[in-house]
């Protein structure tokens, strides 16, 4: 069976890969590009562990075909820090102990960054509803919410 050739941009880098038509963007990122920071928790769009940005939109990469990435700009957790300078959200998550096992963390960071880009001063309720698509089984979400609100405060210059 012949595979599809896809050219796309990931975290600002031009990349190419081959994939089957039925492969998802998540599988291509992890298995073809070896960017394993984005995780599979369910494969059906119910847990958000596979969250990435596509052309500035927060999406589940398990619900997108790899071929649909042609010509798009993809952002994953690997591109969130600036060299070895962590993004405020990444720093605040560590400071607030907002991660335990850490498997949901990449997806939540990507989702939280998307929230703050759109709404720099969210209420706690807005944070919780925005993150409803990101399941966490370890933390009960309490410290995650604290970390997001604190990062938002810092990013606003507060």
């Amino acid at each position: 069976m012949s595979r599809n050739h896809v050219s796309t941009t990931v975290n600002g880098d031009r990349v190419e890969f081959l994939c089957e038509t039925g492969q998802t963007l998540l599988e291509a990122l992890r298995d073809e590009l070896r960017l394993t920071g984005t995780k599979e928790g369910c494969g059906t769009g119910d847990c958000g562990a596979c969250s990435v940005m596509v052309d500035g939109r927060l999406v589940c990469s398990c619900l997108m075909l790899a071929v649909e990435a042609e010509g798009k700009a993809i952002e994953t957790v690997e591109g969130m820090a600036d060299g070895d300078t962590l993004h405020p959200l990444q720093r605040k998550f560590i400071e607030h102990a907002a991660l335990q096992c850490g498997i949901c963390t990449p997806g939540i960071l990507i989702a939280a960054r998307a929230l703050l880009a759109r709404n720099p001063d969210p209420t706690e309720a807005e944070v919780r509803f925005w993150l409803a698509g990101n399941l966490c089984r370890c933390t009960g979400y309490h410290k995650i919410v604290d970390a997001v609100l604190d990062a938002a405060r810092e990013m606003r210059g507060g």
Binding site: T21, T44, G45, D46, V59, C60, L63, L65, V67, G133
Partner: protein
């Protein structure tokens, strides 16, 4: 499995017609990818319609709106003018999955997937939306309430696809709302969905109304008896109680892992009442 990205509607129709029923439209893909993964769908061809301009636009049309079938939920939610005119439709769209899912999912896909619990459908029906369809035989239009015929089944013939939705001109003092019941606050499939669209006259009396219920029958229902309970009233407690009773009476639900028959019947009335109160408040805001 082939993947094609036609730039025009004509090209898309030709591809679908050529696939002779073994092709599927790919818009947001949030239902289709799950079906591909589980083996429930095994198409030979995927026709990605996201490059077709008229399917991606939201524009004023004939005093109302034309919403492309491949406009994403997030795009529609962010369209302030549309959200002001049809907050009930936006309510429904807001309930579809997560922010991530809404970043890709579309009303066209939500309708054509034809789940009885689809969240955007009842409000479209209550709004009097019309589906604009194109295929090898040309274009046609169909009210949304007639489009779905059963779970997973629509009136689309081979090679046809939904191109856009037409929303009529909005009369002054109109309001619509959609509410659903789910066990969690987000991320669930609706156990019951209720949409109410109403217009008040200049004395605050309801002159016209449409009520639609989701997840309580094989497809979303338009319930004239429920609307009748509101028309000619000030949508007071007595009218609301009659609305609830009519909504419950119209249900033909099933028992499944998401809810029992008796639960759905009961809660349909509750949701219809609560949706009507919100629709009233939205209509009244314009007095």
């Amino acid at each position: 499995m082939r993947y094609e990205v036609p730039k025009t509607l004509e090209a898309a129709i030709a591809l679908l017609a050529g696939a002779n029923g073994r092709g599927r439209v790919l818009a947001g893909g949030t239902d289709l990818l799950i079906q591909l993964r589980s083996g429930r769908a095994e198409p030979e061809l995927l026709v990605d319609v996201k490059a077709i301009a008229e399917m991606r636009a939201v524009e004023a049309a004939a005093g109302g709106y034309r919403v492309g079938a491949a406009v994403t939920c997030m795009e529609l939610i962010e369209n302030e003018a549309f959200a002001r005119a049809w907050p009930g439709i936006v309510d429904g769209v807001k309930y579809i999955g997560s922010i991530q899912v809404k970043g890709r999912a579309t009303m066209g896909g939500n309708l054509c997937n034809a789940s009885p619990a689809a969240d955007s459908v009842p409000a479209l029906i209550a709004a009097g939306a019309v589906a604009c369809i194109a295929g090898p035989q040309g274009r046609r239009e169909q009210p949304v309430e007639a489009f779905v015929t059963g779970p997973g089944k629509t009136t689309l013939a081979k090679g046809e696809l939904v191109v856009s939705f037409l929303l009529p001109r909005r009369a002054p003092r109109s309001g619509d709302a959609y509410l659903r019941f789910t066990p969690r606050t987000e991320m669930d499939i609706a156990v019951v969905g209720a949409a109410v669209n109403l217009t008040l006259d200049d004395k605050g009396v309801c002159g016209s109304a449409r009520v639609s219920l989701g997840a309580v029958a094989a497809r979303a229902l338009l319930v004239p008896e429920a609307a009748a309970a509101l028309i000619g009233t000030r949508v007071d407690a007595v009218a609301l109680a009659r609305l609830a009773a009519a909504a419950s009476a119209a249900c033909k639900p099933i028992d499944d892992k998401r809810g029992t028959k008796e639960y759905r019947i009961k809660v349909a009335g509750v949701m219809a009442e609560r949706a009507a109160v919100i629709a009233l408040e939205r209509a009244g805001r314009q007095i």
